[in-house]
Structure formats: C-alpha cells, structure tokens
C-alpha cells in the first residue's frame, strides 16, 4: 500500500520540480548574478528602490482583502446554514463569474468605468458630470475585490459547513444571543477558513499586474507591473528576478506572521 501511495505522488513531484522548484532556483540565480553570470548584489540593491511601490501594493491588497472578508463572512455563514440543495445552488452562483476568463472580466470592467465608458456615457446623457473612475486606487481595489471575492467565500463556506449546528444551538442554549454566538463560537471556529481565504485573496492581489495595469493607470503602478515590465519589455531577467525575490520574501513574511497569529489565537483559548 505504501509503495502504491508513493507512486501515485510521482507525477505531481515531477510537475513540482519542473515548474516550481527549477524556476525558483533560476529566479534566485538570476537575482544574484549580472548579465555575464558573475555574482552581484546590484540588482537586489536596485530593487530596494521600489519599496514604496511594494508598500503601495501591500496597502491596496490589504484593503481589498479586508473588503472581501467583510463581504464574504456573512454570506458564507448564511449559505452554510441552508439546506444542502440550496447551498449547492448558491455556491454555483458564486462560481459563475469564474467561468469567464480573468482578463476578459477585467477588460469588461475597464470598459464599464473608463472615462468614455458605459457608466460615464450614461451619466452624461442624463446631464450629469462624468466621474473619474478608471486610473484611481478605488478602481484597482474594486477590480481586486471583484476578481478575488469567490476565493474568500469558498474556504469560509467550506469551514463553516463543518460547524455542527448543535454546537451553535448549544451556545444559544447556554444563553448566547446571535451576536455573542458569532463572537464566541462561530468566528473562532472559522479562523482556519479566514486564514486560507486571506491567503488566497492577498497573495494574488499583491502581485497582480493585470488589474493595476488595466484599471490603475500610471499612478497606480504596482510591484507586479514592475516585474512584468522587467521581464516583458526591458528583458532584464536579473532585475526582474531580484524584484520577484523581494516580493516573495515579503509575501512569505506576511504569511508567516498570519499563521503565527492563527496558532497563537487557538493556543490562547486552549491554555
């Protein structure tokens, strides 16, 4: 049995090595070398200039993640307490936008909010002032929430369906009103879902270049755009790799802090 189980994992291991481990090693290699292949810290130092861009990326991603969490939590709870058939239907509705390509969705959004876009045309026809919507921080945040909300709902929903309704009844039985039940039972039991939801929204948001590129304009140049330019327009593999490495390190640190918070939270209640 053990042998069989190991064999089954080989295709994935090969996949991982080919498309994750080797590229990662290459990024590390390029980040610490120059065009001729000799060791240098030049590009790492250069990347440090982009820390303000990185901070802005983290800032926008954090706001989007927070909005997703606030929007997804009550909805996921509502769905998780419905009958099985209703749950399936509602989750299908959540997944529905994901049937359309990510780029296409973002383009559609930009067509809606651009200066001569659908909304502004409509406003002008009504005799109102057009609004500056595209190329703002708000547009980027909106794009992130719009694209990544399902990734927050799904893990929250799947953890919440696992909460035994008798445990919720027990809280009510012991004197907890709805708000107290949420605070002291449902929220703590949903923490694993919240953490994975945050990860699944924050990581792609912080590194996006499509959303910022299409909706953010030149004022909202994010770290993702920067890396994309290095690789795709400037063809500077070393510079791009170094910036990517910086971003990865920041993301890893953020995640470590988050997971620490989660375990501390559950430990705190256990002690």
């Amino acid at each position: 049995m053990k042998m069989k189980a190991r064999w089954a994992s080989y295709p994935y291991i090969v996949w991982m090595i080919a498309f994750t481990v080797i590229p990662l090693c290459m990024i590390v290699y390029f980040a610490f070398t120059d065009g001729s292949g000799s060791f240098t810290l030049e590009y790492i130092k250069k990347s440090a200039y982009h820390i303000p861009t990185l901070v802005k990326s983290i800032y926008l991603a954090a706001i989007s993640t927070a909005i997703c969490l606030v929007a997804a939590y009550p909805f996921a709870y509502y769905v998780s307490r419905k009958s099985y058939s209703k749950q399936k239907m509602m989750i299908m509705l959540v997944m529905l936008p994901m049937w359309m390509n990510f780029l296409l969705r973002t383009h559609a959004l930009s067509a809606l909010i651009e200066d001569n876009g659908v909304i502004n045309t409509l406003l002008m026809k009504l005799g109102l002032e057009p609004l500056q919507m595209i190329n703002t921080e708000g547009a980027v945040i909106f794009g992130m929430v719009y694209n990544y909300l399902p990734y927050m709902i799904l893990p929250l929903y799947s953890i919440m369906t696992k909460i035994d309704s008798r445990v919720i009844e027990a809280a009510a039985d012991l004197g907890a009103n709805t708000l107290q039940t949420h605070k002291s039972v449902i929220l703590p039991l949903s923490v694993p879902g919240i953490v994975s939801g945050i990860t699944m929204v924050f990581v792609p948001s912080v590194s996006t270049f499509v959303i910022s590129g299409l909706l953010g304009g030149s004022d909202n140049y994010l770290i993702g755009d920067l890396i994309s330019v290095q690789f795709n327009s400037a063809y500077n593999l070393n510079y791009g790799s170094a910036t990517s490495l910086l971003l990865m390190v920041v993301v890893i640190i953020t995640m470590v802090i988050f997971n620490r918070l989660e375990t501390e939270d559950s430990e705190a209640t256990l002690v």
Binding site: E169, A170, A171, D173, L174, G175, Q180, S266, L270, V271
Partner: protein
Amino acid sequence: MSNNPVIIELKNISKSYNGETILDSINLEIHDKEFVTFLGPSGCGKTTTLRIIGGFVTPDEGDVNFLGKKINNLPPHKRQLNTVFQKYALFPHLDVYENIAFGLRLSKTPEEEIAKRVREMLAMVNLEGFESRSVDLLSGGQQQRVAIARALANKPKVLLLDEPLGALDLKLRKEMQIELKKIQKRLGITFIYVTHDQEEALTMSDTVVVMNGGVIQQIGTPQDIYNEPVNAFTADFIGQSNIIPGMMNADFSVSFGGRKHKCVDKGFEKNENVDVVIRPEDIKLGAPSGDVICGKVVNVTFKGVHYEMEVALRSGKVSTETVEIPENGAYGELPTPTNCDFEFEGWYTKPVGGQKIESYSSIYKNMPHKLYAHWTSYGERSGKLVEAPVYEEGTEYKVYFESPETDDSFDDMYCENGVYGELPTPEEREGYVFAGWFTKVSGGMRAESGNPLLEYENHTLYAHFTPVQDGKPVTHTVKLKPDSGRLWIVQSTTVTPVDTFVGLYIDPDNIHIMKKSGWSLQDTEDPDEEGGDAK
C-alpha cells in the same frame, strides 16, 4: 412526584414538516423535581418534543408554558433550561474549563465565582484536574460528563437530555445512568430525558412518557408502564411481551390461544376483541394437558441469567383465500397453506369429484366450487382437513366466514387426537348456507386447513351456518395469511430442550388485557417500512 407544582406544560402541541405530521396534539404536564423520560422508537417525535421545550423548534399549534407563563416565542437563550445534546456538542475550540464556564461568562459572572462553580461542576462529574484539557482529547464518557457539567453550570430549573448516553458502550452507559440519577436527586431539579432504550427509561425515571407516531401512548410510573401497558405498542416496546389477539367472554374471562382463561380484568364489552399481553417470565412450562395451551419448544437461547424458549403453538391463524379465476375458468397461483403437523398435498374441488387443482387448471365456470386442502401427515396419521367453501362471484371465487352472531349448530361430530378426516357436508337449511366446521372445546376455533387442532384433546365439531340474503351468504371475506402457528416467548432459569411438547401455565394475575389499539406488530416488523423511514 406529581404533588410538586407543574413546571412545564405542553398544550395541544402539533408539528409537521413538509406535510408530514411529527407531533399530533401532545398534552403533557411535567412537575418540578421530576425525572421524566420520553421513550419511543426513532421518528416517534420525542426529540422534536424536547426541542420544542428547549426553544429550537416552534410548534405549529399549541402552547408551551413554563411556570404558568407562555414561552412559545421566547428564544432558547432566554429560557431557564439547559440541554445536554446528542453527541455532546462541546465547543471544540475551548478547553474543558472554558466549555463549562461558557454560560457563566455570558451572564457576566465574576471570575472567582466562575472558577468556584467550574470546580464544583467538575467535582460533581468526577473530572477534577481536567480543567485545561482539550475536549477533543477526551473519551466519549468524559466528553459526556463535560457536557453535563456545562449544562448544569448555569443552574437551570430544568435539564433537557437528548439521548445523552447513546454513543457510550453498555457498561459505561449503566454507570452514567446511575450517576445521572444521583445528580438529579442531589440538585433537586427537573430532568427531561429522551431515549429509545426502554431499560434506561425504566431504571432512571419517575415518569415515563411512551410515544409513537407523534402521539403519546401512555404516561405513568415505570411500574405502571411495565405492568399495566394500555396498548399493544407500549407492551411490545417496554420489554419483551407475548401479545396475542383475544376476546373477552365476560368479566374475568378471556379467550385466547384457542381456549378460555380466567383473568383479573373486567369492564370490557362481551365478545370484545382485545390484545392480551403476557410477559415471557410470567409463563411456566409444564407437562401438556387439556387444560392449558400446548405447544412445542422450537428454539432455546441462553441469555445469561435465563434461558429464552420459543414455543410454537400447534394452531395457526384462521386462513382462507380469495382465489381469482382467469377468463377461461382456470385458477391462478393458489396459496400454499401452512401447517405445523401435516404436509400440504394439494387443492381439490368437491363438485367435480375431487379434481386436483393446480395453477391454471381448468374448471367449469358456471358451477359453485368448494376447494379442499388435502393434507398428508408426516407420520402414520392421515386425513383431510376441510377448507372453507368457495363460491363464485363474478370472475372471483370467494371464501365465506360465518357472522359471529349465528350460532346455529348441529351435526355434532366427535374426533380424536386432533386430526379430522373427511368432514360431511351438512344439509342446506332454508335461508342459510354452510360456513364451516368449528370446534367447541377450543372456544370456536375453525376446523380447516392451516388450523389443525391441538393434540391431547377431544373435540366436538359444530357446523356453522350463515344466513343468506338475495341468494348470497351474508359474510365477510378474509384474506389468507399463511401462518405456521404463533410463537410464544418464554423465559425461565431452567432450560427445556427443543422439540419438547409443553403446556404453558399462566397465572390469571399475569394476563394483561388491553383494548385493541389499531397498532399491529406487523406494522413495525415490516422491513420495507423501516427502509422507508430511513429515507
């Protein structure tokens, strides 16, 4: 117990889900300091009743009163009662201490007070020193104790327990039963306990409420419920019982098992059909005789303290059949009567001179037929038993029985050793038609196929006639149900080997008579229906 004031009152509570009635007009008073158990099979509505009291289910109709005040719309968190849930429902993210302290924290109890109370609760359920354990790491029994401590920490007036011991093994369950009873006595509060385990209900309760099909069947002390069940359901559900259809002859006299018995019950109509309940331990096995019900031991099971014997009576149910005749006058598949003494040999018609009738045999259509079941004995005995007469009615042949009020009888016939030979067909009488032969000694048992007479008896046979109206007998049709004779369960500390002929000696005190409830044992034994419930 019932001297205490009423604490919870249910008035005409009804509840249905998706058009299916779960509870039908439940009326119940629960007194202070009482240990009340709702007992019934799964799906009987006992848990729903508990959830209505707890506030988790709103009744469609009726009122829930708590200390005289209507609490129908009071949410669970405002009710002065706490629940021990099925499978405990502990908070998995909290340790033992915080689980028990949960309710106290919500009521803003000072921290020292909480610590004191949690310690008390843990001491009560014998879990001292478990404060900081994670509840996931506790055994089922320990989780159960935490759940009880958590529910009692709030000092509720009433504790609701929803099958709390269902997941525990037998030994632990017995221990917890005793412990729960002790806790209830010590705290002096009301316990409302839901279980499907009749032994648990009898052991722990002051009052048992037996439920089935959303209706309360009986309310009483465990002794009442066990000794004086009001209907066949209660008798069958509470302990093992022999439940036999019988008929009251008069006060203190009942017929069942083919003979008359003295009993201690009265107040029934004459000839009223009743259910007779006899506990297996109340039957003494002895030598067969003409004065008692006789049968053969067919199975013996060792049960630890006692042996359990199954005794097959040598009488079957009255059996007859409506036989459909296809267009061309042939019979369809004929029923196979069963008999514990003789082997069925075949069906014969009378008018065509004993032609053997098998599936799709042709018979003449426009002629009234009588079908005879022919029996061959295993041993040296041989003979024929007479089946009920068959009359043509349209394309059907119907078998007729006597109406109970006709007691015209003649053509006495004597028969020894319980086997009938060919019976004579008595002369037709004006306005009557012959309905069959009946024995006298066994209280009017019909002498026919599937119904052999008991051994060790001399029988006198009486021919019964049924009045005829418009050329048709005034009768009712009875469907044949092959039955190899009723099995009686007998418990005894001494063993009687299989195949022994025995007499069943029953003290009149132990014969419990109940009104027919309409509930029949077949209803619950049918596996198809159980499958339906599971869906």
